[in-house]
C-alpha cells in the first residue's frame, strides 16, 4: 500500500510531464523531457526554504500537509472501492486548499489566485450532475458497485455519454495549461503557488502528482470499468493525451468567460438529467 502510494505519486508526476511534452510537440516546440515534473519536485525539495515574514505561519504550512493528505485519502477511496461522493467531496475541497495557499502568504498575487479559485467554483457543479446521472443508472454510488454494474451492462461511457463529457470537462478544468486554469495564469506570476517555494512547492507538486493520478484513474474506473493495471495505465494515458490536445489548441479563457462556459455546461447537464428522469 505504501508502495502503491509512492508509485502513484511518481506516475502522476510523469503523466504531468507527458502532458507538457505533448502540448509542446503540438505547438512545434521541443518541450521539456517527460520526467521534468519529477525532477522539479526533487529540485524544489533541495532548495532553501523559509516562511514569508507576512504569512500566517500555521496555515501556510498546514495547507501543504492537508493538500497531500486529502489526495492520499482520495487514492485509498478509489482503490478500495469507497463512495464516489467522498472522492468528489475531496475534489471540491481541493479548492479550499488552493484558496489557503493563495491567501495565507499575504502576497497580492497569491491572493488573486485564491480569489480566482473561488470564482471558478462553477467547475465543480457539473460533477454533481454527473453523479446524479450515474446514480440513476447504477442505484449506488459505491465505486465497487459501479464497477460491478459496468461488468454486467457495459461501460457507462456508452450508456450516459453526456455525463462522461461533463466529467471530461471537470478533468480539463484541473489540468495545468488548460482553457480553465485561470488560477495559475501568468499575469498573476504563478497564481496561488507564487509564495510557496522550496520544500512547500515540492509538497504541492507531490499533491499535484497524486491528484492527476487519482482523477485519471477514477475517470477510467467510473466510465469504462476495472482492468488490469497496465490496461488502466494505457487508458489513463490515452485520456491524458486527449486532454493535452485540448489544452494545446485552446487559449486560456478570461476568468468570467471560463465561468460562463462551465455554467453553460452545467445548465446543459441539468436539462439532460431532467429529461432522463421524465423519460424514466
Amino acid at each position: 500500500m505504501i508502495g502503491y502510494l509512492v508509485s502513484a505519486t511518481f506516475t502522476g508526476l510523469l503523466m504531468l510531464g507527458i502532458h507538457r511534452k505533448v502540448i509542446a510537440r503540438i505547438q512545434k516546440r521541443p518541450g521539456p523531457p517527460i520526467w521534468q515534473e519529477i525532477l522539479h519536485t526533487l529540485k524544489f525539495s533541495f532548495k532553501s526554504t523559509w516562511v514569508p515574514a507576512t504569512a500566517s505561519r500555521t496555515l501556510f504550512i498546514a495547507v501543504v500537509l492537508i493538500g497531500i493528505g486529502i489526495w492520499c485519502a482520495a487514492l485509498f477511496v478509489v482503490t478500495e472501492g469507497g463512495s464516489v461522493l467522498i472522492l468528489f467531496g475531496i475534489y471540491m475541497l481541493h479548492k479550499i486548499v488552493e484558496h489557503g495557499y493563495g491567501l495565507s502568504s499575504g502576497s497580492p498575487y497569491g491572493k488573486f489566485g485564491g480569489v480566482r479559485s473561488v470564482i471558478s467554483a462553477t467547475s465543480e457543479i457539473p460533477l454533481f450532475v454527473t453523479i446524479a446521472a450515474i446514480y440513476l443508472f447504477t442505484h449506488s454510488l459505491i465505486i465497487s458497485d459501479i464497477v460491478a454494474y459496468q461488468a454486467v451492462h457495459g461501460p457507462l461511457l456508452l450508456s450516459v455519454p453526456p455525463a462522461a463529457v461533463a466529467m471530461y470537462l471537470v478533468l480539463l478544468s484541473k489540468m495545468p495549461y488548460g482553457p480553465f486554469s485561470i488560477v495559475e495564469s501568468k499575469e498573476l506570476v504563478s497564481g496561488y503557488k507564487t509564495e510557496h517555494f522550496g520544500v512547500w512547492r515540492a509538497g504541492l507538486e507531490v499533491c499535484n502528482g497524486l491528484k492527476t493520478y487519482v482523477l485519471l484513474y477514477a475517470a477510467v474506473l467510473i466510465f469504462i470499468g476495472q482492468f488490469p493495471i497496465w490496461a488502466m495505465l494505457a487508458l489513463m494515458l490515452a485520456l491524458l493525451v486527449s486532454l493535452s490536445f485540448v489544452c494545446a489548441l485552446s487559449p486560456m479563457l478570461s476568468p468570467y468567460d471560463s465561468v460562463t462556459v462551465q455554467t453553460l455546461a452545467t445548465a446543459f447537464m441539468i436539462v439532460y438529467i431532467i429529461a432522463l428522469v421524465v423519460m424514466a
Binding site: I2, G69, C72
Partner: protein, 67 residues
C-alpha cells in the same frame, strides 16, 4: 527549526507508516485504520524529508511584489 528536529519528525512519520503497514498485513488492525495513519503520516513524511534535506536558516523575507 533545526535539522535534527526535522530528521526526528521524518523518522517518526516513516516509522508510523511502516508500523501501520506491518500491523495491517499481520491483521492486527483493520485496513481503514492503517489508511488513516498513512493519510496523516505520509504528508508529514514528505514535507519533513525535504526539510531535513534542506532547511535554510535564511532570514524571513517579504512576499514577491514584482519584477
Amino acid at each position: 527549526m533545526r535539522r535534527e528536529t526535522a530528521f526526528k519528525v521524518m523518522s517518526a512519520a516513516a516509522l508510523a507508516c511502516i508500523a501501520a503497514w506491518t500491523a495491517m498485513i499481520a491483521g492486527w488492525i483493520p485496513a481503514f485504520a492503517a489508511m488513516a495513519v498513512f493519510i496523516v503520516a505520509f504528508p508529514v513524511f514528505v514535507i519533513f524529508l525535504a526539510l531535513w534535506w534542506m532547511y535554510s536558516q535564511g532570514k524571513e523575507d517579504i512576499p514577491f511584489i514584482g519584477y
